[in-house]
Amino acid sequence: MNKINSINDFVIKFANVNGSGSASANQMFAKGVFRSGIPVSPKNIFPSNIQGLPTWFEVRVNEKGYLGRRDGIDIFVAMNPQSYQNDVSELKENGYLIYDSSWKRDFGRDDINIIEIPLTELCVKEFTNPKQRLLFKNLGYVGLLASILKMDKDIYVSLIEEQFRGKEKLIEPNVKALNIGYNYAEENFKDFCEIQVEKSNKTDGLILTSGNDAAGLGCVYGGATVCAWYPITPSTSLAESYSKYSEQLRVEIGTDKNKFAFIQAEDELAAMGMTIGANWNGARAFTATSGPGVSLMSEFIGLAYFAEVPTVLFNVQRGGPSTGMPTRTQQSDILCSAYASHGDTKHVLLIPSDPKECFDFAVEAFDLADRLQTPVIVLLDLDLGMNDWSTKEFEWDDSREYDRGKILSRDDLDEIERFGRYLDVDGDGIPYRTYPGTHPEKGAYFTRGTSHDEYAGYTEDGTKNAEMLSRLLKKFQTASSLVPAPVFNQEKNTSSMGIIYFGSTDCAMQEALDNLQEQNIKIDAMRLRAFPFNLEVWEFIEDHDLLFIVEQNRDGQMRTLLMAEGGIIPDKLVSILCFDGQPITAEHITDKINAHLSGKPVMAAS
């Protein structure tokens, strides 16, 4: 039998039953590889359910640092008989199948290598507690993997010790479970597997964390003091991360009181209302949600836009439309975020592509919201938000100050003859604001969503209202010079073809670009990081005859946004789309480009 042979480059997939404790064991496997010095990209592919349905966990191990999904599974740890049939068909020829042979099974494939381990029998023999008998099967296969991949078992022992610090009693049975699998493999499958994990140093300077965790931490560093939110997958863990880090880092010494308020609202409307109320009153506040929440918040987003109240919203996108696929990934809320709410509205979008950037853009979002006095929406997606990524370490410059924007103090107000909340004093479209309670006689104004003049007074004078709308547009133009610039893959453009991408697609794109280069296809690449688009975006488009736009939605929403905002002719922009809820692969991108270049039309497909 032939065997796949590789060092530090493979995809392993786990099939489990959800609610069986497998995710933390699978996570531990991934972390063990990361600690061996090889970048990993674990992806939890889970159902919208708590217990009993099939769930999968994919880990790509790649020394070059390619973190995008890759089709074709090299090792399958099949622990769920419900999904055996499909699972086994995903395994590549000459790949390895690991299954619980307490119940023997013929999988009908003679082109794969089967590793049998009677996990249930072994656990029943070693443990008496029925819960442990079930749970420890997971660590059993982690132990087996450590052996067959020739990994350092002590890494997993340390991970167990760290996980149960403070609950030392649990360390011994967990290590025992790990050893059950490890020892069984040492005895029965020594040197069987030709895929190996070899220690490396490619994770120096990297950490393993999720975008939601990073963004929540970024909110703490960015000075957010109020978080109002409503639970919704996949954004919940972002709010929870803020709460976790705030409890660690933001409790007053002496009084034990919180330098933050964390409020679970009754719905997304209230979450957004609280966020606006707190920002209006001078605290930095944010909310986190996903597509359905954005729909509910839209009325309030329009109020914040028109009344010019700073607001930060994280939209961790999931599969839509409607309730859609709550536990799968998409980039399909671009238009509904950019133009959220009725009437003429446009919003600043920040689009991070990895957890490190989630941290940075969370901080940036508060500065921009305060500076521009408008909603800032940070667009993540489920893949980036909920999965752990091998990402650069977080950094903080202690000399960095918060930019609170144009706020008038009591002394400032004393100097001013008449305060006008919506006067464009500086000509950049951004007016000055006051916090309630600043001055006994000056600076009070009425915040409203109705048409208003420069002094915040209600008006039905259409000309005045048109002036106000035009000034908001001017402010949006100012925004385009303040938001993060795009990132270019090349120092100088060398091709007549370009590729535009953004967000979590970045990891697949790096691999795709390398592959295209190997195929001698010259193509320049630009990663968008914000809306409104700045000048460099338009220059890049101007410089190329043909542009591919890679996005994870059906309608090519970013393409539409570029056409609408820049008047780009449709023929120039070719969509490469993926909307099956799975993160896009490099192969998908290169295939579509090759197909287009060979004259075959690019079909919207998955």
Partner: protein, 351 residues
């Protein structure tokens, strides 16, 4: 909501409060509501209450939703910041604002459409969270701005101006507020200033969620003789539980009531709400009795007014969330940002 600035000519002999201010200093823009609207009487009662309490206007945030009632904040306290938000969503704006700075006084003005229909969820949860604010519903049983549709507080037996029957029973907001955990609940009538002003003063002095349901007849759409929220109907059916008197902190309590007929409700700032009992069965600190009183009077076709329920020792949202004494909006980068050293520790934990 036309913004008309009133001329500010003070008569030299106008009465002044402890801050040296006159009632005129607490006024707002000229009202654009219909002549005779109950809401204007409420605005003037608010002016009176704030004047008497010597409140610093600029330390008040006045918030509202959408509707006739929600226009009212423009007509009092010119030196306060105002926030006219979206329909039914004033409570969430107030919650966020109060978390940012607990040192201001939060006064929310809502209506029956705003609170009993579109915004009932936010009303419910704001009461339940015990936000420290005064929440007023200017209750006229009708949608005025959209020309006279029934609202959810309109009584079943009431007919519209055009003779239509009301098909659904009314929602009683004070009963709900008591059940939800509001720690100060009162009902009054826009036409009864003697009752309304002391209740407003007490509500503004109470720490916790103070709810006032104020029947406020709509002269244009709900003041006809088949309405149960008309001036005439309320005057005839008003069943006042008590005659309130507000005693500010530090003042000696002198009441003219006979022993055994008055009840004093102490408030957070040391002041007292002294109540002359008009009903034997009356104890404003008994939650169950309060709800019983309301339901009995409803059954008897009366409108019960006065202080219905109060818990003087209630906690508020900030206590519950253990938020620091220094307002969050006054904290700077040094107080909020954990810094690079802590971040290195976090990085190390994610390896």
């Amino acid at each position: 909501m036309t913004y008309i600035v009133k001329p500010k000519n003070h008569h030299p002999l106008l009465e002044r409060n402890n801050l040296g201010l006159t009632r005129r200093d607490y006024e707002g823009a000229v009202s654009t509501l219909c002549a005779g609207c109950g809401h204007d009487s409420i605005s003037s009662a608010i002016v009176e209450a704030c004047f008497q309490l010597s409140i610093e206007s600029y330390k008040v945030a006045k918030l509202s939703g959408i509707g006739c009632s929600s226009k009212a904040p423009a007509y009092f306290l010119n030196q306060s910041h105002g926030f006219n938000s979206v329909h039914g969503r004033m409570p969430s704006i107030a919650t966020g604002a109060a978390m940012a700075n607990h040192e201001l006084l939060y006064l929310g003005i809502s209506g029956d459409g705003d609170s009993a229909s579109i915004g009932i969820g936010q009303f419910v949860h704001c009461a339940r969270r015990q936000l420290n604010m005064t929440y007023i519903v200017e209750n006229n049983g009708t949608y005025g701005l959209t020309k006279g549709q029934f609202s959810a507080t309109n009584d079943l037996e009431s007919k519209s101006k055009y003779g239509d029957d009301n098909l659904f029973p009314s929602i009683d907001l004070p009963s709900m507020a008591i059940q939800l955990g509001a720690s100060f609940v009162a009902r009054s009538f826009s036409g009864d200033k003697d009752q309304l002003v002391p209740l407003l003063k007490a509500a503004l002095s109470h720490k916790g969620f103070s709810f006032l349901d104020i029947i406020s007849p709509c002269v244009t759409f709900n003041n006809h003789n088949t309405s149960t929220k008309s001036y005439d109907y309320i005057r005839e059916h008003n069943d006042s539980l008590s005659r309130p008197d507000f005693v500010p902190s530090g003042k000696e309590i002198v009441t003219e009531y006979k022993t055994g007929t008055s009840i004093d409700v102490p408030l957070h700032d040391g002041s007292l709400l002294s109540l002359e009992k008009l009903s034997e069965n009356y104890d404003p600190t008994d939650k169950i009795k309060a709800i019983q009183n309301i339901q009995e009077s409803q059954r008897d076709g009366k409108v019960l007014t006065g202080l219905l329920y109060a818990d003087p020792d209630a906690k508020d949202l900030r206590d519950i969330l253990n938020v620091s004494d220094k307002p969050l909006n006054e904290m700077d980068r040094k107080e909020l940002c954990p810094g690079s050293e802590k971040l290195e520790g976090i990085n190390a934990g994610l390896k």
